[in-house]
């Protein structure tokens, strides 16, 4: 078992680097591809593949920040941090943005390890208590977020919420193989990528020196982010972007660097929290853990081993991501930014066409219109998460 976990961990780490660096590739799709490709062998080596899935999930979570920063191709988890990260990139501080993201993830993961045992006992109690009102929380959350908008923009935000919810209901009613791919790629991916055509064709020269970190402030925002991220596991449909807004509101953080660190900690807290939730609640909150649950009987020993593996992968991953960022930046700098964006657009369209056929392209197009509308009207893109929140709330309420 030990050797299988180590080998699975190494394989997953390397696969996570590849899938994370591939722009627009969500971990749910990446894990589906891994499981499909390994289908004939997967039940022969359950420990190996369990370690591979968890390791790939954590590694992907670390490395997908790089295309978010340098190409502006975020997934839902990074939607809140991509703007400050992109602003730092345009100031020549893209590597710094990656560094803050890595440090935020490490602080968030360390906190999750420290609180893992009390959290394991707390989750079932909180889950039991939350069941009565979970549907109301999910349906009220997007409307409560409208109050954060300026008065003149609230009606537009409401329209975005209602249209995103309609798009979510329609998408899930079709029963596509991978409904989140066209939905989230349109709302959060393509709409940002199209914006790249209006910026300069070249990335400005980047500073390679790492800054001195203000550890106290970063520890506070990352710890709050990690705890809020881990609590996501109680509320299906609430994504890291909503948790990030709650974290930014709770800590009142304004500095771009700290926003990046806190969003990264939310994402890491959510990943580690989902591993604990798999054991404590018996519920898988993301695709890699759904595959793991189908593969093997989840024991507390296995979860402890996977948590340990996770923190090792994260530690190595955070060092690698900081070293890889300048290298990735040098490669990107050699290409015309618009050509690169066009290539990523083509890749995303191909993936959507492959997984969901023409109906996926229609969903992608509607999502892109909504994403651009939010961007142009300068209304928060988190409102678009109503596409998941309201359909999930209706499941609990009706």
């Amino acid at each position: 078992m030990f050797l299988e976990l180590i080998l699975g961990g190494i394989s997953g780490f390397l696969l996570g680097i590849i899938t994370g660096l591939t722009p627009g590739l969500h971990i749910n799709l990446a894990s589906a591809i891994i499981v499909s490709a390994a289908a004939p062998f997967i039940h022969l080596q359950p420990f190996y593949f369990s370690a591979l899935l968890v390791s790939a999930m954590i590694s992907h979570n670390m490395f997908d920040f790089i295309p978010s920063v340098f190409l502006g191709a975020p997934d839902e988890a990074e939607a809140m941090s991509v703007l400050p990260a992109h602003q730092l990139l345009l100031l020549g501080r893209g590597v710094e943005a990656v560094y803050y993201s890595a440090v935020g993830a490490v602080v968030g993961a360390l906190l999750m390890i420290i609180i893992s045992i009390p959290f394991w006992f707390f989750l079932p109690i909180a889950y039991g208590l939350s069941q009565g009102f979970i549907g109301f929380v999910l349906i009220l959350l997007p409307f409560a977020m409208i109050l954060r908008e300026q008065k003149g923009k609230r009606f537009f935000a409401l329209a975005l919420i209602l249209l995103s919810a309609c798009l979510g209901f329609a998408t899930f009613s079709i029963g596509l193989k991978d409904p989140l791919l066209p939905l989230l790629s349109g709302l959060f991916g393509i709409s940002v990528l199209l914006g790249n055509f209006s910026v300069s064709a070249k990335i400005p020269p980047q500073l390679l020196d790492l800054p001195k970190i203000e550890l106290k402030g970063l520890s506070i925002v990352s710890s709050v982010g990690s705890i809020i991220g881990s609590l996501l596991n109680l509320f299906p449909g609430v994504g890291p972007s909503q948790a990030s807004i709650l974290t930014i509101s709770a800590t009142n953080v304004k500095k771009k660097e700290l926003v990046i660190a806190s969003v990264s900690a939310v994402s890491t807290g959510s990943v580690f929290g989902s591993i604990i939730a798999l054991s404590a609640l018996g519920k898988a909150r993301n695709a890699p853990l759904v595959h793991l649950q189908n593969l093997i009987s989840v024991s507390s020993d296995l979860i402890a081993a996977l948590m340990l593996l996770g923190i090792i992968v994260l530690a190595i991953g955070s060092l690698t991501v900081v070293f890889l960022a300048p290298f990735f930046m040098r490669i990107i700098a050699k290409f015309d930014y618009r050509t690169l964006t066009a290539a990523i657009l083509a890749l995303t369209l191909s993936l959507v066409l492959w997984r969901t056929w023409l109906i996926g392209i229609l969903i992608l197009s509607i999502g892109t219109c909504l994403g651009i509308a939010a961007h142009k009207a300068e209304v928060g893109k988190h409102h678009l998460m109503a596409c998941l929140l309201i359909p999930t709330a209706s499941y609990f309420l009706f």
Partner: protein
């Protein structure tokens, strides 16, 4: 063009797209599969399954309809009343694939009778 005007145009296009999507969904039928093919489908995928009823198990508000010959598949149907099907009938089921204890099954949204004759 003013960004706000552009935003409103995008919103209008999204509304038109949504209307088109609802029209497509109305006429959209999932891919028809045989019992053997169900095991190759991904969980959550929507399919149309055609097969012969070989057994019906009624449990409170849940009916389990077993379809197939050599290889069988369970169709789960939630209903308040008793299901009016019998063994030997050929039926068509629209539903969503789910994996339960490592086995693929179909949660039915709609069941229609194809033939009474086995």
């Amino acid at each position: 063009m003013e960004p706000e005007s552009f935003a409103h145009i995008c919103l209008g296009m999204a509304i038109i797209g949504l209307l088109a999507l609802y029209v497509v969904i109305t006429f959209y039928h999932p891919k028809e599969v045989e019992v053997e093919e169900l095991y190759e489908k991904d969980a959550e995928e929507r399919v149309r399954l055609k097969g012969t009823v070989v057994d019906i198990i009624q449990k409170n508000k849940t009916s389990i309809i077993v379809l197939g010959h050599y290889r069988t598949a369970d169709v789960i149907f939630f209903t308040d009343g008793k299901i009016s099907l019998s063994k030997g009938q050929e039926i068509r089921v629209d539903g969503r694939v789910q994996e339960y204890r490592g086995k693929k099954e179909l949660v039915a949204d709609e069941i229609s009778l194809v033939s009474n004759v086995p």
